[in-house]
């Protein structure tokens, strides 16, 4: 016969039952906070860099215009000729009077096309613009 010391048998496992809940909370946080890209960008562009860039606080006001390195202009999901920019911008301004047009323009494009787009925006009375640029380090 063996004499065994009676041992207390404490639980040695960390309860993991609530771990999935914690992970799910994280998951839901990420799913809610992230915005999926709404548009397919059809033009190629590379943004310029600048030091004095500001963050745009209110993303809901933003409306995007892309100008690619081949000087094609895209608004929403379609490529437009320059003359159409006014119409589209006008409708955007009607639905959202405080719209900020965010201009994603390739850094190599010429000022001529940029100016033409700006004139169209002025005609549509969409006066708030934002030259999208990356923060220079």
């Amino acid at each position: 016969m063996r004499f065994q010391k009676k041992r207390a048998n404490p639980q040695q496992e960390i309860p993991t039952a609530s771990m999935p809940d914690i992970i799910f909370m994280l998951l839901i946080f990420f799913m809610v906070t992230t915005v999926l890209r709404e548009y397919d960008v059809l033009v190629k562009y590379e943004l310029p860099e600048a030091v004095s860039v500001e963050k745009i606080e209110n993303k809901r006001l933003l409306s995007y215009i892309w100008i690619g390195n081949d000087e094609r202009i895209q608004i929403d999901d379609s490529i437009l000729p320059v003359e159409e920019v006014m119409n589209v911008a006008y409708h955007k301004r009607l639905s959202n009077p405080n719209v900020i047009m965010s201009l994603h323009i390739d850094k190599g494009s010429r000022m001529g096309v940029v100016h033409d787009v700006q004139q169209q925006l002025r005609r549509a009375d969409a006066l708030r613009i934002n030259y999208s640029a990356l923060r220079k380090l």
């Binding site: 771990m19 600048a50 390739d106």
Partner: protein, 169 residues
Amino acid sequence: MFLKRRISREAVIPSSSLADIAFLLLIFFLVTTTIDVDTGISLVMPPWIEDVEQVKVKSENIANILVDEEGNCLLDDQIVSIPMLKDIMIKKIKANDKLIISLKTVRATPYRIYIDVLDELKQAYNELREEYAFNKFGKPLNQVTEAEMKEIRKAIPQRISLAEPEKVD
């Protein structure tokens, strides 16, 4: 005695791997989503007017900046390098608080250079505002309240005029 032994089955679904599955989903969302903050240089353009009436501005109250297609920068008929522009403009704005900066390009000017110049001007204004905020309120610009910011904007308004590009044949 041959009795069939009953295997006792536990009716619990093991939930220890649920966390792993949730982790996988989490990692998927972490990797695929980009929290991209839009950054850029904000401007408000003047409204469109059909017949632009010429407003005469005293020539000493205006600083003409011309940028050509090769990135040469002309400030009041003098060639300046773009990185120098900030310091020159700070001096000029300090000397004359009614100064309007007119930024003009040609149609072939690359956008990158235009942004560089605009950036210099914005930096000059930001530096002046920073200084004003520090002297008046004793704190940096990013800590002032909304009302104080209004006052700063009023004291140092940004007067940048974007002129129509010139056609060069």
